[in-house]
């Protein structure tokens, strides 16, 4: 479903992704963990071409994504949930959810609204349809952002640290929504520091450090007997805290 081949990314002189090779199967739930600055976010941002790789190739559903077809591929195949939610503040929640379906997916207003209310139910926020996003708490905004991503009905959803900007008490409500989603046949790539979530939901966990994939495996393998010293240290710190 997603395939990255020898992807390198430089920001100026900084080499943030070093020859990353990664494949995600259809319906797979892949969780990427690792210390900050390890290139996790850049990896998912290369998948939908928010960052253009300096070298290497990215394939979505067998098709190479380029700066020319990225808009089309994003429209058809992928959605993204951001750390900072990035809801459109000048539109009500309902408008946020119906904009892309109406303008990009040629749905009628009625179809788009039915879809929107369906996914508002999924995230448990039907009663917020007509308010502006800034009136909501962080956790609520992120749940709306997830509903917005779902409205595109794409096969892939990328999550870039979806709970890192949230107050501790609202993290769980967002994770609960994501856990429910994981039961569907959606391909999910999730960058996160939530180890409980990784353990519960991931089919496969990838550990990144210094722009490289250091280790990958099932959650059981990861959390019970990781091989790499770096991984042990990292998990030790995270789990202790």
């Amino acid at each position: 479903m997603i395939k990255m081949e020898n992807v390198n990314k430089y920001f100026g002189d900084l080499h943030v992704l070093k020859d990353v090779n990664l494949e995600v199967k259809e319906g797979e739930k892949l969780v990427i963990i690792g210390p900050s600055g390890s290139g996790k976010s850049t990896t998912v941002r290369c998948m939908n071409y928010l960052e253009e790789p300096t070298s290497g190739r990215v394939y979505i559903d067998g098709k190479e994504i380029t700066s020319h077809n990225k808009t089309h591929i994003n429209r058809e195949a992928m959605s993204m949930v951001f750390q900072q939610f990035n809801l459109y503040p000048h539109m009500t929640v309902l408008k946020n959810l119906t904009l892309a379906p109406m303008k990009l997916h040629h749905k009628t207003k009625q179809e788009a609204e039915e879809l929107a209310y369906h996914y508002l139910d999924v995230v448990g926020l039907r009663d917020k349809a007509n308010v502006y996003p800034t009136t909501l708490s962080g956790g609520q905004q992120q749940r709306i952002a997830i509903a917005r991503a779902l409205c595109a009905q794409s096969k892939i959803i990328l999550f870039d640290e979806p709970t890192s900007a949230l107050d501790p008490e609202t993290i769980q409500e967002v994770l609960d929504v994501m856990i429910r989603l994981a039961k569907e046949n959606i391909t999910m790539v999730v960058v996160t520091h939530e180890m409980g979530f990784a353990r519960q939901v991931a089919d496969r966990v990838v550990f990144m450090a210094d722009g490289q994939i250091i280790e990958e495996g099932t959650p059981e393998h990861f959390f019970e007997n990781p091989e790499n010293e770096r991984v042990k240290q990292f998990l030790g710190k995270i789990i202790r805290s």
Partner: protein, 241 residues
């Protein structure tokens, strides 16, 4: 100043009122089409200034710097006489529309650039990740949010452009100021300086003041909407805790 209280002088102005209305008409016509041109150029070069393509940014920069750092009167003379000597003589009104449109277009470009740059990067990324192309991103998401930042300085430019029609005097214009000047220095009409300039100023004021007023009201309305959104948010936070 004695003629200020001279009934004769006021009668003279009244008698030749059609001169003032003719000037006013020319000023309004020049300003109207000048604003349209400035608007088009402003949007075009403002968008170029925020483009990801370096070449476009440079073209926009050069236009803005050259136009903003030379006097508008010089630009008018250049346009008028350069075109006249190359046998492309254009009417005085067209000269006014072109030169003022180009001059204020440079300022509008800066206003629009600043407006676009004030929108957080996440908004562009969210739109891109949903599959909106450049025009969709700008039209649905970025410009509606930057309008309240763009609006006040934009109206300022419209008012300034209207007042700058007076510079057309340098190429023998038929605008309000030029005709007022011909009137007060004319063989048959001369002498009524104070009443003539007072009337002329009043006519300018009658056009420009409502513009400023409307813009002020609109800006306040936008700000008020934002405040209500914030208060709702604060209320929400109180309820949440």
């Amino acid at each position: 100043m004695s003629e200020l209280f001279s009934v004769d002088a006021w009668e003279k102005v009244w008698h030749y009122r059609s001169t003032f209305f003719l000037g006013l008409g020319n000023t309004v016509k020049t300003a109207f089409f000048g604003v349209l041109l400035a608007f088009v150029l402003g949007i075009l070069f403002g968008l170029m200034a925020t483009s990801s393509k370096k070449g476009l940014r440079w073209i926009s920069r050069i236009y803005v710097e050259v136009i903003q750092n030379t006097p508008v009167i010089l630009q008018m003379c250049f346009l008028y006489y350069a075109l006249a000597f190359s046998n492309h003589s254009v009417s005085i009104i067209v000269t006014g529309i072109l030169s003022l449109g180009i001059y204020h277009g440079a300022y509008m470009a800066e206003v629009i650039r600043a407006g676009i740059e004030s929108i957080p990067k996440g908004q562009f990324e969210a739109a891109q990740s949903q599959g909106f192309g450049y025009i969709g991103r700008m039209y649905y998401i970025i410009l509606p949010q930057s309008i309240k930042i763009i609006l006040p300085p934009m109206v300022n430019q419209i008012v300034n452009l209207t007042k700058n029609t007076s510079c057309l005097y340098i190429v023998g214009g038929a605008d309000l100021i030029s005709l007022t000047y011909s009137f007060v220095t004319g063989v048959n009409t001369g002498g009524a300086y104070a009443p003539a300039y007072l009337v002329s100023g009043l006519l300018f004021f009658v056009i420009c003041f409502p513009l400023s007023m409307i813009a002020g009201k609109w800006e306040n309305a936008l700000k008020k909407r934002e405040r209500t959104m914030v208060t709702q948010q604060q209320k929400g936070e109180v309820n949440a805790t």
